[in-house]
């Protein structure tokens, strides 16, 4: 295990260090004193594990392809942007556009997320991106989603607090969103419908929530005790009839 003290390092220097350590066969790195350095893990291919202490900067794990990153702290915008594979575990909150255009891999966020999270996610062949959010989410959750899975758990909500913002899954044309609890219909985009999860869905939720609980030391049964709804698109061609051919 290699420890890197990131304090005061520019992101170029830090990322160069991380990449060359990985290139040289180090498989477990601990980044201490991280504060605002962007693009950590960006475009990195292959196996390895990073532990990050502090607040990494934007676009953490963007275009990442295989690493596992565990963040002990909050993360900023764009975590997992266009990510291809790997795992990101966040012991805190994430802000806007987490998982934008994500194609594969998994992101687990213990806390809340900001606006436009999980938008434009897409599945491909054996890739099926997954984001699990412990808390609540802002507007445009799952917008334009073309594939993959979003799970929103709504843990620790205050009484009367909404689990998700408005315009949920507008333009969605693939994938699935599981929300623990109910969502007011007016919050949903007109392209999606809420249905009851099937038995197979329940089984998958058990696995997903099981992982989530394990990462954050929670009790899966308790979380699963509350029913989920599932959002799916009406069809794969939401704008098929918009045009005069």
């Amino acid at each position: 295990m290699e420890v890197v003290n990131a304090r005061g390092l520019s992101y170029q220097a830090l990322n160069e260090t991380v990449r060359s350590l990985l290139d040289n066969g180090h498989r477990e790195l601990v980044l201490k004193g991280v504060n605002g350095q962007r693009y950590i893990g960006a475009g990195v291919q292959g196996q390895g594990r990073l532990e990050i202490f502090g607040v990494p900067g934007n676009n953490l794990a963007a275009l990442m392809d295989g690493l596992e990153i565990e963040v002990f702290g909050n993360v900023q915008d764009g975590v997992g942007n266009t990510m291809n594979d790997g795992t990101v575990i966040i012991h805190g909150h994430a802000t806007d556009i987490a998982g934008y255009s994500m194609r594969g891999g998994r992101i687990f966020i213990r806390g809340n997320v900001g606006y436009r999270v999980g938008i434009h996610m897409k599945a491909f062949r054996n890739k099926n991106p997954l984001i699990v959010i412990g808390g609540k989410a802002g507007d445009f959750f799952g917008e334009y989603m073309a594939g993959g899975t979003l799970v929103l758990l709504g843990l620790d909500l205050q009484p009367g607090e909404a689990i998700v913002g408005n315009f949920v899954a507008t333009g969605m044309h693939g994938g699935e969103i599981f929300i623990r609890g109910q969502v007011d219909p007016y919050r949903l985009g007109k392209e999606v419908k809420a249905i009851k999860p099937t038995a197979a869905d329940q089984q998958r939720l058990q696995d997903i929530v099981g992982d989530f609980a394990r990462y954050f030391d929670l009790e899966a049964e308790k979380i699963l005790a509350r029913p989920f709804i599932k959002l799916i698109p009406y069809n794969k061609r939401p704008y098929g009839t918009m045009y005069a051919y």
Binding site: G78, K127, Y144, G171
Partner: protein, 503 residues
């Protein structure tokens, strides 16, 4: 659809029965079901309403028996209520949809290219004969480090390499999916053979074409289709597509029926699903977000790939370009309002954006005023029709240009503007395997190569006429341009004098 369509046929196909040998090539080749054969009666006939005047039948007919006529206007000619307006209204009354179209803006806005004239040497300095003397068109794209020092190689670790072009003409972004694999491959092959670049557009790079990746500008658009590190590292240049000249400010929808297995594999999305590109990148809502994506891409490719940012030519393009340069881009691509497209809402295509000539002039001038012109290359796109247009663009300040429509015309496109239907008879804007095979990439690449060769030679002739033997002496050299019939504001914006004025 109403039972009675009020839409009169736009074209009429006339068959000269004296010539027709009933080989049926026309019926087999028509992509729009306008040519029919009745086997029982051994009779060929046409359905005019279906004809889009793509000229496929005319070209393929071995005996020249076919002629397509524009039908007379459906109503009394009216300079205000043009036929186009009437047709649009009828179509929308029948469908309730947004009008779609393909290829570039066809409206009669003034073309500044046609109001600019080039200079030539006489006596006081010699013209140069490109047949005899070296004439250099090589252009490097990327950010230039100055001053030049005597140290070897890159001056900084975070400086991306420069990319040479053997002619300042590249092939515009046209995605696999919007065009056929055959068309895409033609562009790739020609780019490689000529030593220039093609642009993948936003649809990724098919696996079998990675052999041409060294000549690829790989695009990252809002939909992020096919974007992964392998793709980014394979290409020579990465381009962030913010906007497109044909449809500034709006996104794109590639309909699910064009997403076949191969397109799906390249875009890395499921088959049959719409490929939706949102209007903005949802991770770029401000210029510093652009910088964030620029450096995400540079980090992900270890600073080995210059990053281009492509924007539509819009009203504030100069300031936008300055921001892009300062956001770390190595190349700025500006796409003018004449730029083509596979599909755009007609109203957007025809009424949004500004001419590329003015955009080049404004951007080049602005970057020079800020002293940062050398930090970026400026690539212009959007409606280049000839080598003269290219020369004028470079004299106005572009480093290089993209040609899209011209390239497609070289491949067979007849500008029928029906790309969005996916029925392209020429095998270009379609994924229908019956039609894509009409474009043999060998031939396509040759035709494109020929076009580049012809244009490049013409550019050399024009340069030689000006007494210049290197393209960099043309770049921004507006003294070699003169305006005709332009008003003072236009002359000032273009930075050129009026014809007849001396230096």
């Amino acid at each position: 659809m109403p039972t009675l369509s009020l839409m009169p046929p736009e074209f009429s196909v006339l068959r000269d029965e004296n010539k027709c040998i009933k080989c049926l090539a026309c019926a087999r080749q028509c992509g729009f079901d306008a040519q029919k054969y009745d086997a029982e009666d051994d009779r060929l006939y046409t359905i005019d309403a279906n004809c889009v005047n793509c000229q496929r039948c005319v070209s393929i007919c071995p005996v020249g028996a076919l002629t397509i006529y524009k039908n007379p206007p459906p109503m009394r000619p009216n300079a205000y209520w043009s036929e186009g307006h009437l047709r649009n209204i009828i179509k929308q009354a029948e469908t309730g949809g947004v009008l779609l179209t393909g290829m570039g803006n066809d409206q009669p806005f003034p073309s500044y290219f046609d109001r600019l004239l080039l200079n030539a040497s006489q006596v006081t300095n010699p013209s140069i004969d490109p047949l005899r003397e070296p004439m250099e068109l090589r252009t490097y794209l990327g950010s230039r480090t100055e001053p030049v020092t005597l140290q070897e190689g890159q001056d900084e670790k975070t400086r991306t390499p420069l990319v040479p072009l053997e002619t300042p003409i590249m092939f515009s972004a046209m995605s696999y999916g919007s065009i056929s694999h055959e068309a895409f491959e033609s562009l790739a092959r020609a780019a490689k053979e000529f030593g220039t670049m093609f642009n993948t557009g936003e649809g990724g790079l098919p696996e079998d074409l990675y052999q041409y990746a060294d000549h690829a500008v790989v695009q990252v658009a809002s939909g992020r289709f096919g974007v992964h590190t392998g793709y980014l590292n394979a290409g020579r240049i990465i381009e962030i597509k913010i906007g497109q000249g044909a449809k500034p400010g709006i996104g794109g929808h590639l309909p699910g029926e064009k997403i076949n297995a191969a397109v799906s594999a390249t875009r890395m999305i499921p088959e049959g699903t719409d490929a939706l590109s949102p209007a903005p990148h949802h991770d770029i809502y401000s210029i510093e977000d652009l910088k964030q994506l620029v450096f995400t891409l540079k980090e992900a490719t270890r600073y080995q790939k210059p990053v281009s940012v492509k924007v539509s030519a819009v009203h504030n393009v100069a300031a936008i370009a300055s921001g892009i340069a300062r956001a770390g881009a190595d190349i700025i691509t500006v796409d003018g309002f004449r730029g083509g497209t596979g599909a755009a809402p007609t109203m957007i295509r025809d009424h949004v954006g500004i001419p590329i000539e003015l955009a080049i002039a404004a951007v080049d001038q602005r970057l020079r005023e800020e002293g940062i012109r050398n930090q970026v290359s400026l690539v212009a796109a959007g409606g280049f029709r000839s080598s003269a247009d290219v020369v004028k663009a470079i004299a106005l300040g572009a480093d290089a240009v993209y040609i899209g429509t011209a390239a497609l015309i070289a491949l067979g496109c007849h500008l029928c503007q029906k790309c969005y239907t996916g029925k392209c008879s020429w095998g270009i804007a379609t994924q229908d395997p019956y039609k894509t095979r009409r474009l043999n990439p060998e031939i396509g690449a040759e035709r494109l190569y020929n076009l580049l060769r012809g244009w490049s030679h013409e550019i050399k002739e024009m340069l030689g006429g000006m007494g210049i033997n290197s393209i960099e002496s043309l770049r921004g050299n507006r003294l070699h341009l003169r305006g005709v019939g332009l008003n003072e504001v236009e002359l000032k914006l273009l930075g050129v004098k009026h014809a007849g004025e001396a230096i």
